[in-house]
Symmetry: C2
Subunit: 328 residues, 2 copies
């Protein structure tokens, strides 16, 4: 089990492992610059090795008898589904058990597949799996916030996969965004994301591509070189209300974007997160707007960003958008 500990000054929750604890030797086994080594053993995410993973929570059939997308509980979760919150003080501090869900979406049977090279129809299946899992997890009233997250390449396993997290708190990064959208709505009675979409479509210079339902653009105050957002052009607060036609369209937008990254920066490492409205209807549907934020992990200067929450981006979004448009 892990604990959620509240940092008392900035009032931010941190997950601290209390059973699966790592000591100095665990870090020494990573080679500088401290990248984890992927195991040489059989891949637990490959077909035929299903016995190596927990039982799936969802799967989609593929060709023959094989699955095409498979969702499993994470064997090493940040949050566990069983147990009680047990909110309590510890001295002057605050602590609770890290209750939640942490599932892995195995995105394809093929170990060496990736989103840039995938058929859009396969990406659509991944989106369908995301949606179905969120619809199911929404029933659990303990969860406040969902987050979908992907690191490419995977940190501990190169087999293409993403993470679904259901959290008992709204993490700081999402919370700031929510308060910003509420404040804007109070002042204007409009969704700030909808206004940004209008602005970007009218100004054009930061737009990378537009599909029927989605806008792909470099945000004005991009924190990272080639930071890119994918957002539905029509207001929608919850990702898991997406319909079949929109999923098909989104899969085209995603595949096109990841292929552009691949061509432009020679298969760079990246992360994306899918931000969606808090779960328990605490916020009005008119104020939040779900979207995907993508970061290429080619940045530097991490000390500064870490020390201040303040970002320095040497590639203006207008330039990034030109490169990404033209490479398409």
């Amino acid at each position: 089990m892990a604990q959620l500990r509240r940092e008392p000054i900035a009032r931010r929750w941190v997950v601290v492992s209390t059973d699966d604890v790592k000591g100095p030797s665990d870090y020494l086994s990573f080679k500088p610059p401290y990248q984890p080594q992927t195991s040489d053993g059989p891949c637990p995410f490959c077909p035929g090795n299903e016995g190596m993973t927990p039982k799936e929570t969802f799967s989609l059939n593929g060709a023959g008898k094989r699955w095409s997308v498979r969702v499993i509980p994470n064997k090493f979760p940040f949050f566990r589904i069983e147990g009680e919150f047990d909110r309590r003080p510890e001295g002057m501090y605050d602590v609770m058990e890290a209750i939640g869900a942490h599932e892995i979406v195995i995105e394809a049977p093929e170990h060496h597949q990736n989103l840039a090279m995938m058929e859009p129809s396969q990406i659509e299946k991944i989106l369908f799996a995301y949606r179905e899992r969120l619809i199911d997890l929404e029933k659990d009233r303990r969860f406040e916030q969902f987050l979908i997250l992907k690191n490419y390449p995977g940190v501990f396993n190169r087999h293409p996969h993403s993470h679904i997290l259901a959290m008992p708190i709204i993490p700081r990064g999402i919370d700031e965004e929510i308060w910003g959208t509420l404040d804007y709505y109070q002042r204007k009675e409009r969704c700030i994301f909808c206004d940004i979409i209008k602005e970007e479509i009218s100004v054009k210079k930061r737009v990378i591509l537009e599909t029927v339902h989605f806008l792909v653009f470099s945000p004005f105050a991009s924190r990272y070189p080639f930071e890119t957002w994918i957002i539905p052009k029509t207001h929608s607060s919850d990702f898991h209300r997406i319909n079949k036609e929109e999923m098909e369209d989104l899969s085209l937008a995603m595949q096109s974007l990841f292929l552009r990254f691949h061509k432009l920066l020679s298969d760079p490492p990246y992360s994306f997160t899918l931000h969606t409205s808090p779960v328990q209807n605490r916020f009005h549907r008119s104020e939040y707007h779900w979207h995907i934020e993508t970061r290429l992990r080619i940045g530097l200067r991490e000390g500064f960003e870490w020390g201040t929450g303040f970002f320095v981006n040497p590639t203006p979004p207008e330039n990034a958008a030109v490169y990404l448009r033209e490479v398409g």
Copy 2:
């Protein structure tokens, strides 16, 4: 010149380069995993090459005619000292010029020196340089916040150096901390850092070492494995009010801590930031408490942290403190 652009949703300022702009080929020249390559040419920070850098803003004499610590304006600054803020709208967004100061403290004449191996008397000279520069920069009424920052090893140059930043805004990470301390003070009429110091000294299990004037400990909600804070035991809001005796004592604490990291994790990469009170007396001296936060750059899972501002730490601070105490 760089711009400060305001991210309109979470309302966070981002520095975006607008002249010294990087395109895809700049990132391709970094080898995966996208570490910058240090130049093979002569080191501009080494004695004899002073002509390669801007004119110093401060230096301390060492043995013979040599300097022992030298401070210079950064040739590639995040913030520039010349110019006007020019706060203005750009469409629906907000932008201003990135006015400020960005100086480099060359910590020793020797190219292969580092804080773990340095004489405490040399660290004391570095601290003296920090103090003198902040006292000077404080006179410029445009600056709202100072930050001292070090990355080890340096990102673009391995010669030991740190950064002094004078910023026209209070960056988000510091702002959150300040609002937290103000809120606590309002409720309790006590400094939260002072209370944490009392708690940690009484509980003991997260203390790494204590000197006459400083406490070195693993914070309760450590975000990173072996995260460590160094804090003056007596209340003090501004680092640059430190006296000679305290600097001497702090240099001992720092050298001991960095040597412990070196021994325990085989010379790991790290960053530290020195947080000090906002400059322009906007906050009462009784509420903020300066301190140093140190992070070993051995962490993983960056996608999650990035996506959420939410940290997962597999090494509880109680365990980290035991390791760091015992290796001393």
